[in-house]
Point group: C2
Chain length 323, copies 2
Amino acid sequence: MVKTPTFDSVSQDLVRVEQKMRQALETSNKYLTDILFYILDSGGKRIRPALALLATKFGTVNPAEKAIALAAAIEMLHTATLVHDDLIDNSLLRRGKTTINAHWNSGATVLAGDLMFAQAAALAAETQHVRVISLFANTLGIICRGELAQLFAPPWNEQNRTHYYDRIYSKTASLLETAAQSGAILASLPEDQIASLREYGRNLGMAFQLIDDVLDFVGDEHVLGKPVGSDLRQGTVTLPAMYFVQQNPDDELMLRVLNRQEQDPDAIAEVVTRIAQSEAIQTTVDEAREFIRQGKAALHNLPDHPSKDALLSIADFVVEREL
Amino acid sequence: MVKTPTFDSVSQDLVRVEQKMRQALETSNKYLTDILFYILDSGGKRIRPALALLATKFGTVNPAEKAIALAAAIEMLHTATLVHDDLIDNSLLRRGKTTINAHWNSGATVLAGDLMFAQAAALAAETQHVRVISLFANTLGIICRGELAQLFAPPWNEQNRTHYYDRIYSKTASLLETAAQSGAILASLPEDQIASLREYGRNLGMAFQLIDDVLDFVGDEHVLGKPVGSDLRQGTVTLPAMYFVQQNPDDELMLRVLNRQEQDPDAIAEVVTRIAQSEAIQTTVDEAREFIRQGKAALHNLPDHPSKDALLSIADFVVEREL
């Protein structure tokens, strides 16, 4: 198991990002504020704000507070989408903690997510940088369109890998791309370096989601903080499942599960085990490694710098974690 | 009955605003696009974009397309909040048309609203004006905090008129204030004129919501497009109800309805009738007229201009409609 990156060079900044996010969610109602802070505390490894901050270190942001605001905006936007996602999927657990909709009715959950979107927009506006703000708004649009497309997706047997890649770009890679790119823009890097950091972020994001989709089959439930096989149970056909059905076109049980003719939990668990033990996992991991290779290669024209080393090690971590 | 203002001087612009909003909601899925357009078509009198456009006419916006983008951003934000409101209230009708959540599950409705928030932010960013964008983001925050405060409000008998005025400012007046103010900023008006248009917008918004709350008791259901008494049935205590209970402290039926001990539709209808026939209505209308008076007075330092005449007539319309 690879050590979790500690983001050493930006760890002080990340503390300020947490403070900034909390400030943005203060309300006059203590009960409400506590719940909003609980959602923030359910947060993950803060990889998105770390990316944004590391990208800024190749140049200068003046005043430095704007970089903190950008990083907080990125993570706030991410958190807002998770709040609404959990409501839409009716998920009761995320990262081992109960979700907000497990406590609240759907109205309060919708509004908590909306407030986070609003504060994300306000934090982005604090950068005072029109190009960064526009990029940020457009990314939110890409994420929403992707979620809607997934909800109105054609049946699984009319979906191909292009659909899948479009979906994970919208869902995950677009925000990592924007994190790295907007950090670069805010720090006034040359256009070729902005393009490189953007490409790094997109490739990292694609690999990140591929590995997430692999872990949904082979991960440790305690580390995942949710049961394995969640995607399949919710009818979401990810790349490992696509490869499995391609490699095992006559697996009747798999077809019944995909066609939702079979909803028995034991049967779904059996299909999850079959996929977990199949070649489909390695095929998917190999694709993730290829995205990582391309992401690292994109950094070739950035100068030697502690941030560059950090970005390279994050890339390795994303694809090696837990595998 | 007062004639609906036709916004003559900005009617061509308003056609472009509609086109701009539609463009922003185009998706690759025809079914989805049709539903999003249906939501737009359920829109009201477009008073918010008209305000923004009229405010810009006191100065110059270059290129003029930025004024269209601002007006579209304002109305898109308003529409997004309506979509989530209807979901939260579980309303099935708005302006006589079925709401999106009457057709779709809550997940799709959440995402449709989110996409509209995203596109509102993207349209605001098209102004390329940092002050306008910041104002816009902060207004969204005010609206969300207001909605959350309402959801976590104390019991009706611990609420006073300050709570009520805070609530209608957040819910309605803040966006009309921002519409007029941001139009003024974008057109580079002097600061005192920006402040005047802001004050006009806020007062107009307060009056607008007061009259809406009156119409919820005395309006024509066909004009309202929903049954009278909706607020009371949902447990929302508006100013006419506050005045009624103050003027009739011993009305047992009213108290039972407010304490939600009485849920019988006939009993609630009886209370609605009592309020509609009481002095509370006139007291509330008088307060609305006072806001309108202050809003019109705020325009004193703006030059004579067709936009000024239009703003004055909108103010009269808001308080005289249907009464």
